[in-house]
Symmetry: C2
Subunit: 273 residues, 2 copies
């Protein structure tokens, strides 16, 4: 358990599967010289319906794996793991660890005018009320309305993002929220940015849609600068991708999310960490 | 690795989650004196989108766990694990292991008149073509039309079984199959019997719907009798339930599937086996 101050060391980014690539994509865009090691826990995906204890155990194993890659910082690019495991796993490593909840909450608090904020997320994220707690620490007057949307992840994973049925599912989950006074809504799951245009169309222009990925990359940049570990070599970054299952399927999906085409994904037996 | 010939020993039944309870329920009904140890791998559910290697590793761990409960026979109450892992894990244990594919295929071959059989299942089950191979061994003339229906499991798990959206998803996946000449269709995933009435209504009376659970319990009975290990004590059976995650959620769902009310479910760290 030691800190890595080598500025050329990679950033570790992890998620339960492909969803976290929406965060990795933003890091690649904002921090083009940072090397990245990405891990997707495809053997145990999804996290959103599972318990706090399992999410903490899974996250701990992944952090131990990322440490073998000598990462200099870790981004939990998964709302469920950020909500349930961030505090617990921070204790286990000497490298800085950031999640997506605090950046997403901050962006929403900055964007809202009337202080009424909606959060769509997994069952586990919404039940944890982590977004509510974090938002209320930033603005005690804020009102937070959370809604679990458990079918959104399988709809995206099964290629239904653009199908008319997804419009109906959006209506089933979010019609009640649309009748409230929210002026800002957080896409509180890394898969949901892949439904962004559908959700924006559903709420219309009066609701500001927040994707925490953008703010998360900003936070990462700030931490690297503060600690003097930003990669200023000017070299082209290198990216490595690991999963716990079905590497080919991941590569195929990843190539639809990233602008960059990845050649191969390596398989890791994550239970051994 | 030794056989257990104690007739009072329990039957081990496992699935990726709650779906296998539709098989356990049928065993309870047909073999009311058999004790059962059920394991649901809720930490790693679903299996249907994962690779053969992972399914074999998961199944091996579960069989080693069930052996610690001194089971006298094992039923793989999951189509995906039966399709991908049965042959591999049979080698690892001395107790008889049966899956749901052979019984389901036999019921379909017996039911069909024109030899054209449909199979709805998970991505992994359909891709493996195990149903096709097994059916063709029983009847080389048979024509098998398989269709993966990956949204059926999340729809059931998220409580949408009776929602109108499920009717639309059934139409999306099965409209092509309805236009074929099939006269028999296998519900090739243990969750699907929970959509049975919707699927029956969709196909109408001319298609015979096969739920492999019934035939699986019959096969189990036959094996226990052949080996002289049926429980003939006449005592009331006892049932134990184990999961790898979220025991309370499992108990709640189980109580909607079983006629019998289970008091509690125990948690197991399955990765240790």
């Amino acid at each position: 358990m030691k800190s890595n101050s080598n500025s050329k060391a990679p950033i570790g980014v992890f998620d339960s599967g492909v969803g976290g690539l929406t965060v990795a994509r933003e890091i690649m865009r904002q921090l083009p010289h940072e090397n990245i090691v990405y891990f997707g826990d495809t053997a145990r995906v999804p996290y959103g319906s599972k318990s706090r204890n399992s999410i903490i155990r899974f996250s701990g194993q992944i952090i131990r794996f990322l440490e073998t890659k000598s990462v200099k910082a870790i981004v939990i690019a998964c709302n469920t793991a950020s909500a349930l495991a961030l505090e617990a796993v921070k204790e286990e490593t000497a490298v800085p660890v950031i999640g997506v909840i605090v950046p997403g909450a901050r962006a929403a608090v900055q964007a809202t005018e009337n202080g009424i904020i909606g959060v769509a997320g997994t069952e586990a994220t919404i039940r944890s009320e982590t977004y509510t707690k974090v938002i209320k620490e930033m603005n005690p007057e804020a009102v937070v309305i959370g809604k679990p949307c458990p079918l959104f992840v399988p709809l995206v994973e099964e290629g239904f993002a653009k199908h008319k049925i997804t419009k109906e599912v959006i209506d089933i989950y979010l019609s009640e929220m649309r009748r409230t006074e929210i002026d800002t809504m957080i896409l509180g799951c890394t898969h949901y940015p892949l439904l962004r245009s559908r959700i924006m169309a559903y709420f219309g222009e009066k609701v500001h849609i927040v994707n925490p990925a953008y703010e998360t990359a900003m936070d990462l940049k700030k931490i690297l600068n503060e600690r003097g570990i930003a990669n200023e070599s000017g070299e082209a970054a290198s990216y490595e991708f690991y999963v716990s299952d079905a590497a080919e399927k991941f590569t195929r999906l990843a190539n639809t999310i990233l602008s960059y085409d990845l050649a191969a994904t390596k398989l890791v037996n994550i239970e051994e960490y």
